[in-house]
Point group: none
Chain length 226, copies 2
């Protein structure tokens, strides 16, 4: 799965067209026909990106966007605004209210797709499906497989998520807290030392014999790839 996209748009034909095409491209899609419903559904659906119509029967897209930005859970939710208005003034208003990109109807699906990818690549590298590479290591997010120097490495689920996390920003040093935040589900509580054990397991799997160490320990700070 590529990522979850929510659509708030009052024209069913557009929803149908976009939803159908997005699903063909591996996205999970849900939608609402008006602003108030949309805001409710949003919380349930927890999307990775929101497509938002400018003109809606109840709330305007701008109002919804401002609303969303106030909610801590959606502060960083990428939003692409869809609208029939092409006037420059409106674009500025939209971008200033926290919208990430802006698309004028009528638009081609290809352009929408390209913009979605661009926004997702920036905001949530995890949801854009491509392979992560670093040095002689390759992680395939789609097939959930990892290779080093062409040879496949078997990883447990946590080891995989851990490596995936490091690969989104190799070389960057992450504290144990940051690792916990990003690699473990939001509600679980695990000791910070647990990470050390998983690092050890990951190292054991990844450091095929006579290969150089890939994981760097930064004393009193955390870990990074190297």
């Amino acid at each position: 799965m590529n990522g979850k996209i929510f659509i708030i748009e009052d024209e069913p034909s557009i929803i149908q067209l976009v939803q159908h095409n997005l699903e063909k491209n591996g996205f999970l899609v849900s939608s609402s026909l008006n602003g108030n419903d949309g805001l409710k559904e949003l919380k349930k659906f927890q999307p990775d990106l929101l497509l938002l119509d400018w003109m809606l029967p109840d709330l305007s897209g701008i109002e919804i966007c401002k609303n969303i930005r106030k909610d801590n859970n959606f502060k960083n939710l990428p939003v692409i605004m869809l609208t029939a208005k092409g006037e420059e003034e409106d674009k500025i208003k939209g971008l200033d209210s926290g919208v990430d990109d802006y698309l004028t109807k009528p638009f081609s699906f290809n352009e929408l797709m390209a913009r979605i990818k661009a926004v997702l690549r920036r905001s949530n590298p995890n949801t854009v499906s491509d392979n992560l590479k670093f040095d002689d290591l390759m992680l395939d997010r789609i097939e959930k497989r990892v290779f080093r120097d062409g040879q496949e490495i078997k990883l447990g689920p946590t080891e995989f998520r851990l490596l995936e996390f490091f690969l989104t920003n190799p070389k960057r040093v992450y504290s144990r807290d940051q690792i916990l935040e990003s690699v473990w589900p939001n509600n679980v509580n695990v000791e910070s030392r647990t990470i050390d054990v998983h690092i050890r397991r990951l190292r054991q799997s990844v450091n095929l014999k006579n290969k150089k160490e890939l994981i760097r320990t930064v004393r009193s700070s955390g870990y990074s790839l190297i």
Copy 2:
């Protein structure tokens, strides 16, 4: 200062207009008139965002962008493409090559500004690699690494914090009390002489053989870089 923006654009009038307005808005701006110069300057300037013209005398904007994405240092550099071509196909090509946003000439400065803000808002919290530099010394806060003259120097945690502290205001002389306040955790109590020992350790690490002394002792006052 708001951030650093680099412009690669072959039309001087546009550079002048954009640069002037950006500077009025608190940005630090530099530019090149062609692709090859631009790629070189980029490394020196280390911008937070790149404005890139589609058509250039030597390389195309697309080529430059792909080039940049291959360079580990600029993998995450936000890019906004400027172009006279408004055709949809081109937009798709641009966004797919790793561009973050796209602006068709002629554009108003206000719209450009709004898009810059939108892109920076999204990209900056992620990975702004802020490096501290002084003389031939470079400290990377993200990767927690220090280089002198290109060669890596291994530092212990306290040595690192100490150097980081000095680098935020090189040349300024800090008293031992000030150093304690800023470099040690708020509650610990250590002898002021302890600092001397850490200074000694830092000196030993940083003064690679036959390199000139970097840390100056200011008798009865404290220490500083020099």
